[in-house]
Structures are given as C-alpha cells and as structure tokens.
C-alpha cells in the first residue's frame, strides 16, 4: 500500500487538484482526495511536486529496433513480403532493451509497440508497461491495432527490388485486395455458422483482419501529407476505425480529418525539411485539431528519436499555443484511448492501474522538469 501526499495532481479525468493525496493498493488507485491517512501505507511526500498519470507513447518500436554505434537491430520490419498482417511485434520485442529503462526513468509507463513501416500491411501492435523482465507479463493488450503503411517506406523497400509496390499507385490496392479477401472469408465463416463442413480453411493472415473489419481494433495507418487522403479512402471503404500516424502536413487536411472521425498520432518532429514527405512538419496542426474535437496523441517514434523526446513534443505543442493540460493529455489519456486501454491507464482515477509519474517541475512547461518517482502497478520502480 502506497500513499502519495500533497501533490499537485493532473488527473486527466477530473481536472487538476492543487494539493491532494493518492492511495494505491494491490496495483490499483483506490482513493484520491485530501488528507487521506492510512497507517499501513508507505508514504511518498510530494509537497511541491506534480503527479501525472504515467506517460504514454502509443507509437513506438523500442525493444525491436536499435541503431547505435555498436549495434544495428531491426526486428520490426519483416521485409520479405509486402503484406504480413499476422506478424506480431511482441515476438520481436526484447524487454531487456535499455530503451525501456530510458522510458520509465522519464515517467513513461505504457507504450504502444508497433511493427515498422517497411511493409504495406506490417503486422499487429500491442500495448505494454515499460517495466519488467517478461514482455508477456508486461503486456496490457495484444493486439491493439493492425499497422499499415503508405508512401516512401514500403515503396523504398520493394521498389528497389523492382517488386510491388514500387509506386504510391499500387499501395492502396494492395491493402484493399487483402481486406476484401478477409471480408469474404469473414462472411463465409458467418454463413457456415459453426458447421465444420461449410467453414473456409483456416487462414491466419485473414483471421487477424476480422477484428479490424468488426471495429474491435483500429488500423494504425502510417502516412504523411497527401497520403492521408488515400488512407482515409481505404478506411472509409471498409468502414473501419483508424488513426493516422505521423500525419505530417495535417494542416492541409483538417476538414477531412474532422469529418472522418479518426484519431491522429502526431510525430516525430525535428526531421529536416525537404521535398515530398518532409515538405511540412507541422505540430501546430495538433492545436487546431484538438480544438475541433479530434483525438490527438504525440509520438517520438522511438528509438528513431529517443523515447524521452516525447516530452519535447508536448512542449512544442505548448509553444505552438496548446494549453498545457491539453498537451499533457496527448501523452497520457488520449494515447490510452487510441490504444483502447483507457480502462486501465492514462488518467488518475479510482479503479485504474497505479501508474503514476511524480515530477519536480511541470513537464512540457519547465524544460528541466525531472522525474522523482515512477510508479507502475503500485510499485515504485524508479527514483531519482
């Protein structure tokens, strides 16, 4: 039992509590209020400090990718076939990667871990806590989304081999053909109604697409600039839930995004401007999209950028005029909603997991805000 005393609490559910206490038991938040006392509880005095729900980046590749001076690991892109829907990134994720430590020591407690974007249909993403030795025990939900990719990444991989897709022209068609096949498979299964003689032959590649078609999990669509329109067209045709991930250039498609009802996972920023996909890298777009009711999360795309730069992203949203609390939602509750794990994490509410980051200074406002304690499932797993 753990009692956090006298913190300024950003609940991300019920506003800000200027000075309050949080009681954690059996891994869960059991009470939030003022002057909570419990004899049996270990106490964390947080006077003058800020308590946030553990931070979340819902688009990350850590544990499956590491490009450093010493090593080059990519277990997130199976670039031997442009459609690999049934590949699970959980099998490529090494919980011993130091990136997990960089995550929790910066207050990040949950990640959406996703395959890379080298394929058109890349595979299944999952949600996990950042602390542990066994990725299966760290997992909150698997799968959380089916990842697909538009634009230069799949084109660059297969085009160089004179294989499909070598252009943007064929990318949406590859997805549509696969989804149609899955639709027919799903209908046949439904028509068979449990009758083994009528059941189509089990096809795992199509099986994993059924939850997408049934709106149980979203498509996680890697796209930038005008590729967004192709992504929205595919999603609309199959009437599925989806997020646009990276979403550079969203400023030009505000109306379409609002109308589509999709979520946006914006980032990483900080690439040099160029032509084509890096024409416009506009984190300012999240301010307007947020005002128009679009669900926005931010991502550092780690380890492409270091996982702690997630907080820089929220800071940049603030620089562009986003209210601080709205920016913090983009790295907590909004990210949890996009992952479909907001029943467990993303806000400080009774009944949710005891994942709390206690900061000295306010992240995304004070540049030197530092984590004093990170708590996951009610346990202090990191102290500065």
């Amino acid at each position: 039992m753990l009692l956090i005393k006298n913190a300024k609490i950003y609940t991300m559910a019920n506003g800000i509590i200027d000075k309050g206490d949080i009681l954690l038991q059996d891994g869960k938040i059991i009470e939030i209020g003022e002057n909570i006392n419990h004899e049996a509880a270990e106490i964390i005095e947080a006077e003058g400090m800020v308590a946030l729900p553990g931070l979340i980046d819902c688009h990350s590749h850590i544990g499956a990718m590491n490009f450093s001076n010493f090593t080059s690991i990519d277990d997130a892109n199976e670039m031997t076939n442009s459609t690999t829907p049934d590949l699970q990134i959980i099998y490529g994720t090494d919980p011993n990667s130091k990136d997990f430590q960089f995550a929790y020591s910066n207050g990040i407690t949950t990640l959406g871990l996703t395959p890379g974007s080298g394929n058109v249909v890349c595979g299944l993403a999952f949600g996990a806590k950042t602390y542990g030795k066994n990725i299966y025990k760290m997992t909150i939900k698997n799968p959380i989304a089916l990842k697909v990719a538009f634009g230069g990444n799949p084109k660059g991989v297969y085009g160089k081999r004179n294989q499909k897709p070598s252009t943007r022209m064929s990318i949406p068609n590859i997805m549509k053909e696969l989804f149609k096949e899955a639709q027919e498979y799903m209908i046949k299964k439904e028509e068979a109604d449990g009758n083994n003689d009528k059941m189509p032959k089990h096809d795992k590649r199509l099986e994993v697409i059924i939850p997408v078609l049934k709106k149980q999990i979203p498509l996680k669509m890697h796209c930038t600039q005008f590729d967004m329109l192709a992504a929205m067209e595919v999603a609309k045709e199959f009437n599925v839930k989806f997020t646009l991930d990276h979403a550079w250039g969203a400023t030009d498609y505000i109306e379409e995004i609002v109308e589509s009802g999709c979520g946006i996972v914006f980032g990483p920023i900080g690439s040099k401007k160029s032509h084509g996909e890096a024409r416009l890298i506009d984190i300012e777009s999240v301010v307007e999209l947020d005002k128009k009711g679009v669900l926005i999360a931010l991502t550092a795309d780690a380890p492409i950028l270091s996982i702690d730069s997630l907080i820089h992203h929220a800071g940049e949203a603030v620089k562009e005029g986003c209210e601080l609390e709205r920016a913090l939602r983009m790295i907590t509750i909004n990210a949890a909603k996009i992952m479909g794990v907001d029943d467990r994490v993303g806000s400080i509410e009774v009944g949710k997991d005891g994942d709390i980051a206690i900061f000295k200074g306010i992240p995304a406002y004070n540049t030197d805000a530092k984590v004093v304690h990170t708590i996951i499932d009610g346990n202090v797993i990191y102290s500065d």
Partner: protein
C-alpha cells in the same frame, strides 16, 4: 536603423543587462546603453523579452547536401582524403533557406563536409539568411574537416575499398598528416599547424578519441572533436590536449542515451579553458531546427548553468570558427545578429522567437510568413 528597447540582454559571455537598449545601424551593433532616443528610427519594444546573440551551429551540412539527388554535395566519396575540397562551392542559399534556421534564432553555421571522408575538405562559415552565397559567406576556410567514425567505414569498407577498418582509417590519417606537415609545398595542413584554422574531426567513441589524440599529440594545433558522444569517458586527455568539443545531435537514433553521454562532464571542460558547443548534426547529417533548443535543453537538464549553455550556442562556436571578433556576443562593433524570445527558451517550452536580425536586417518577425 533599429532600436531594441528595454530588453533583457544576454551578452553571450555570461553577463545579463536588464532594461537596456541596443542601437543597430549599418548592419552592426552601434550602441548598448540605457534610454537611447533617436528620431525617425524604428523601435522594437523588448520589455520583458530576452535578447540573445544569434545562435551559431558550428558544424552543419544545411545548404550543402543537394538533397534532391542521391549523390550528395558534401561528401566527395571518390577518395577518403580530399583536403582541397571546399564546401563553399557546394553551398546553395535556396537549400538552406528551406529549413528557415533563423526562425529559431540560428543566424550562422559552420558549413562542413560530411562524415564519410578521413579528410573531407575545408569548412566555411555562412549566415543563414541571404540572397546569394557570396553575401552569406562570412569567412573561408574556417577549418579543415575530417572523420574517423563509422560513416567512413560504411562509405568505403562496404564496397571493399580502403578503408574498411579503424586501423586503416587512423594509419591513413597519421601518414597524411606526417607527409603534409613535412612537405615543402603549401597546403591546408600547414594552416592548421600555424593555428590559423582548427582541425575538426568527427569522432564518437572514447577509443576513437584516444587514437586521434595519439596521432595529433606531436603537433601544435587546435583540435575540435565533433560528435563526441563518449568524450566524457576521456575528458582528462581532452583537457590535456586543449581540444574543443562540439557534441552531436542527441536525440536522433537515441545517440546520447545509447552512449550514456554525461553532458555535464563535457560542459565542465569549459572551466579548464576548453570550448564546448553542440550541433544539429549527428553521424548522418543534420536534423531539423526545432532540435537545436532540445539539444540546449539537454545540457540544461544535465545541470549546466543557463548562461553557460548560452555560451555554447554563441561565443564558443564563434571562437571555434575564428569569428569571435565579429560574432558570438552582443557587443558594440559586432555584427547585428540577434534573436528576441518571449521568455528564455532554455528554461521554458512556451518561449517563442519573435524577431531575428541578421546583419542588421530583420529577417524574421513572428506571424510573418
């Protein structure tokens, strides 16, 4: 003619003046006084705002990459030793203008050959705004640039061309320096050995840094280590060699974290008289402008004093490039390269650049497109 009124003026040398005015005329800082009043001059109210010397990125490839083509203009990959390659011939004003570095307050760069050659060529200093490379050029050459890090091996060794090993790289560098130094003919190495210009080498691991220091130990020169993610692991040797350090971009591919770079320890060589700066450029070229402040924040979070971080962005890179007589501080007689922020961007994310001046011209005003 501009008067910037009542700003919080960060000189760049550690001093801060509150509510002073700056008179800009003929491209220069003409006066720094209280209550400057001159009729018919344009006035900028900077009350409560922070005025900084224009930031300098001492090692940059912006403008020099010809990014529309796969063959880049800053790496002459036909030979690992190309001392006579001059970056000034690769500098394209419209390409650097695409990144709008001046919008975050970067007003000058040390344009540099890339990291694929052992000796890549001669650096030049440019302003970040202007209509022609001639007008933007500040000085050249400002340094001899080379690299002994992974990109050299990747560039040549992967094609089974020399060098494919570190022993190849360092032996070649040692021989090149020996031959160039004893040559009777004039060459760029002579200018390095006269200390007219520094030797800037991209070098990351402590083993690489130690090998490099071993090669240059018999020469009297100003060595500048760039990249330097593991410079903290051989800090005493660096101080002994009176070398300077330009830390490479920290966030891309998680470079700082994977190297466990102790930024405070590197910054502390300033106390021993060394020069420390940082750059948007990592192993594989430059990152976008927003990361310039993230890298400043990296040092600030590591416990480096705010004004010391500012030195790394202004006077230190000016000294490294031999430009401190005209750039790097807000002092009378220097070029009017300034940036005005709403509040201190090293401390607060909410801080926004509102004006940038280069050579006395207002090149950016918030809200302008």
């Amino acid at each position: 003619m501009f008067i910037i009124k009542n700003g919080i003026i960060h000189i760049g040398n550690g001093d801060v003046l509150k509510d002073w005015d700056i008179l800009i005329e003929d491209g220069l800082i003409k006066r720094i006084e209280k209550n400057i009043e001159i009729e018919n001059s344009k006035t900028i109210n900077a009350k409560g705002r922070e005025v900084f010397p224009g930031f300098i990125d001492p090692i940059s490839n912006f403008g020099c990459m010809d990014s529309t083509f796969s063959i880049k203009d800053h790496d002459e990959i036909s030979n690992p030793i190309t001392p006579d390659a001059k970056i000034k011939y690769a500098f394209n004003p419209s390409e650097i203008m695409l990144e709008e570095l001046y919008k975050v307050g970067i007003t000058a760069i040390g344009a540099a050959p890339g990291n694929k050659n052992i000796i890549g060529g001669q650096m030049a200093a440019f302003k970040t705004w202007g209509s022609s490379s001639k007008k933007m050029l500040i000085k050249e050459p400002v340094a001899l640039k080379g690299a002994v890090s992974n990109p050299v091996k990747e560039s040549y060794g992967k094609n089974q061309i020399f060098p494919m090993t570190r022993m190849g790289i360092f032996s070649k560098l040692e021989n090149y320096f020996y031959e160039a130094a004893k040559s009777n003919e004039d060459n760029i190495v002579k200018r390095v050995l006269n200390k007219e210009i520094p030797l800037v080498i991209h070098v990351n691991t402590s083993a690489e840094i130690q090998a490099l220091l071993n090669i240059v130990k018999d020469y009297d020169l100003h060595l500048v280590i760039c990249g330097g993610y593991q410079a903290d692991r051989c800090i005493e040797e660096i101080i002994h060699a009176k070398a300077s350090v330009i830390v490479g971009e920290q966030t891309y591919l998680t470079a700082k974290n994977y190297n466990e770079t102790d930024l405070k320890k590197i910054a502390d060589i300033q106390k021993e008289g060394g020069l420390v700066s940082f750059s948007l450029t990592g192993d594989y070229g430059p990152e976008g402008k927003v990361k310039y402040l993230w890298n400043a924040i990296g040092f600030y979070r590591a416990g480096v004093d705010r004004e010391d971080v500012l030195k790394m962005m202004t006077i230190n890179p000016a000294k490294i490039l031999g430009l401190d007589h005209i750039l790097g501080t807000i002092e009378v007689g220097k070029s009017a390269d300034l940036v005005i922020y709403t509040n201190n961007p090293i401390e607060y994310y909410s801080s926004r650049a509102v004006y940038t001046f280069i050579g006395g011209e207002m090149v950016y005003q918030e809200g302008d497109l």
